[in-house]
């Protein structure tokens, strides 16, 4: 099993992008609206919610993986769905890791608007949906940053996908788990090849994120 298997690398990369992309779409779809609501509204229990989001942003992925596996286990709460060692299971675990990041960063972006911002827009006498549109437009850079940060988080994460997916060849093997495996097998060529791809993607994301933050500063 020595040598650089390019077909294998591209297969693993595509699967990684699919798993992370799906998790990202789901977590953004849920997280961005929640983040906007948390940032713009005051309600009972908000502080508790926000602090659990903040805690979730720093939660170790491997623990999230452990919790997922316990839920997915045959005798677990979601055991009937057969999610253990499947891509769907991995997507769910990644979603749970990405969600607090998306909510937290969106929330911070909305919160950075002036306290009076919403009142001021209300005095324009435009409809609710238009006000929401203006709000999203105003914090669009923050939302994009939230999504990119979440993607970076789940792309480079290894604990949860390892525990939940199990690194099954052709099914649940992704970049990070594959790197771990090849390293342990002593196949540094493959490990480095995969690592290059992973680092390339994260660099791309980091570059995008920096560009967004820079443009945000001079806006």
């Amino acid at each position: 099993m020595e040598g650089l298997d390019l077909a294998m690398i591209s297969e693993i990369t595509l699967r990684t992008l699919w798993v992370c992309g799906a998790a990202l779409v789901i977590s953004s779809g849920i997280g961005v609206p929640i983040g906007i609501a948390l940032g713009a509204r005051r309600f009972a229990g908000r502080t508790l919610f926000v602090s659990s989001v903040n805690a979730g942003m720093g939660a170790p992925p491997v623990v999230v993986g452990l919790v997922c596996v316990m839920l997915f286990w045959r005798s677990g709460l979601l055991g009937g769905f057969g999610l253990a060692y499947t891509q769907t299971g991995m997507i769910l675990a990644q979603t749970l890791i990405a969600l607090p990041l998306v909510i937290g960063i969106t929330l911070a972006a909305v919160g950075s608007l002036d306290e009076e911002w919403e009142l001021q827009v209300r005095t324009l006498g435009i409809g609710r949906m238009w006000r929401l549109w203006l709000l999203i437009r105003e914090v669009r850079m923050g939302i994009l940053a939230a999504v990119l940060a979440a993607l970076g988080g789940i792309l480079s994460e290894v604990g949860a996908v390892m525990i939940v997916g199990g690194n099954l060849e052709g099914e649940t093997r992704v970049l990070t788990t594959a790197i771990m495996m090849y390293t342990r097998m002593g196949n540094f060529e493959m490990a480095l090849g995969l690592a290059t791809v992973l680092v390339g993607i994260t660099f791309l994301l980091a570059g995008l994120l920096t560009a967004i933050q820079q443009s945000g500063r001079t806006r």
């Binding site: 009142l119 001021q120 209300r122 005095t123 324009l124 435009i126």
Partner: protein
């Protein structure tokens, strides 16, 4: 004379609460009417509830009962003390006010251009609104408010942080826009001089209560209490007892040998407070203007280039008067100089002190 007034917005028994416990603040406005084409300036010390009143009138305060506010069919809009700029061009910022209102694109463009022109910011149309100066941002906010064709315009400190030139220019543009659109305006400010340029009416808030309202000159000349007097710039205040009455003039004894004459109708022995606006306190230079009331010593002279505010010590009180800078007395006087004070009895405001 002003044209017949048409009430556009009226508040009755308007109450609004904020905070709790020690921070509890209550706004209480028995009645307030805003009329088309008229500017009502809301004065009052810091924390009196001026901005809260504006927000209540704009419908932004939740605790205000619906029935206490009768609003017009047209928009009621509020320009905040620190206007928010949306990210995007000045043009976009103004067009945001027309979102979803079913106005055809051509018509929108025409309205936006008119609003930009009204406040002299056509040249900034494509500029990023986040890069505007304070004065430009204020003009943008006003243009955005006027593009709504509001029935009522509420302005919170519209001249705050502008230099003298910027204030003058904006005052003129605003005056013109109000006259052309017949909008009813309520304006909060702490800058009395600026307020007086635009005000048709004055309303004074003290600790959340609308204490007095009326035509500009009436409130300026006849404030209903000493507290209101201070808010409307009546700086020379004293209390005393009515002594003799001669030829329709009541002489109020402030201290032994210090009397102020007034035309108000009092009985000897009444306890009263007296107020004289600084512009009505005269330095007697022997031209026989008004009635002499005593000698004072110049304590300090502060000039802003146009007016000189002279602080005068009369016994242990400080009175102030305004002089035109760079001329006559303002040039000759020095701190420490003795002067004689005089007033016209009809310009002295006095009110009986009601014993609680």
């Amino acid at each position: 004379m002003k044209k017949a007034t048409r009430i556009v917005l009226s508040a009755t028994q308007l109450r609004c609460q904020r905070g709790a416990g020690k921070d509890r603040f209550e706004l209480n406005v028995p009645s307030l009417d805003l009329c088309a084409g008229e500017v009502c300036v809301i004065l009052g010390p810091n924390g009196a509830g001026k901005s809260t009143l504006l927000r209540a009138l704009a419908g932004l305060e939740k605790s205000v009962a619906r029935e206490s506010l009768r609003v017009p069919d047209g928009p009621v809009t509020l320009v905040f003390q620190r206007p928010a700029a949306l990210s995007g061009s000045v043009h976009f910022n103004i067009s945001a006010a027309l979102l979803g209102k079913g106005i055809p694109r051509d018509e929108q463009r025409r309205q936006i251009s008119a609003a930009l022109a009204r406040f002299g910011i056509e040249h900034l149309s494509e500029q990023d609104a986040r890069t505007l100066s304070g004065g430009e941002l204020r003009r943008l906010a006003l243009a955005r408010a006027f593009v709504l064709e509001p029935s009522v315009l509420l302005l919170d400190e519209p001249f705050d942080d502008l230099d003298a030139e910027g204030q003058r220019g904006l005052t003129l543009d605003l005056q013109k826009a109000i006259a052309e659109t017949d909008v009813a305006v309520a304006m909060v400010t702490h800058d009395l001089r600026r307020a007086l340029l635009l005000a048709d009416k004055i309303a004074v808030l003290t600790r959340g209560d609308l204490a007095q309202q009326g035509p500009r000159d009436e409130v300026l000349m006849r404030p209903a209490s000493e507290e209101i007097a201070r808010s409307v710039g009546m700086t020379n205040l004293a209390t005393g007892r009515v002594g003799r009455r001669e030829e329709g003039v009541a002489w109020i004894e402030i201290e032994d040998g210090f009397e102020i004459p007034t035309c108000a109708d009092f009985q000897p022995g009444d306890s009263v407070w007296v107020g004289i606006r600084p512009e009505h306190l005269k330095l007697d230079v022997g031209r026989g203007e008004g009635q002499p009331i005593g000698k004072a010593v110049v304590e300090s002279l502060i000039s802003d280039g146009l007016a000189t505010v002279a602080s005068l010590r009369i016994r242990d009180r400080l009175f102030t008067t305004h002089l035109l800078s760079g001329r006559g007395l303002a040039r000759r006087l020095q701190p420490g100089d003795p002067v004689s004070l005089a007033v016209s009895p009809e310009q002295v405001h006095a009110q009986r002190i009601e014993v609680a």
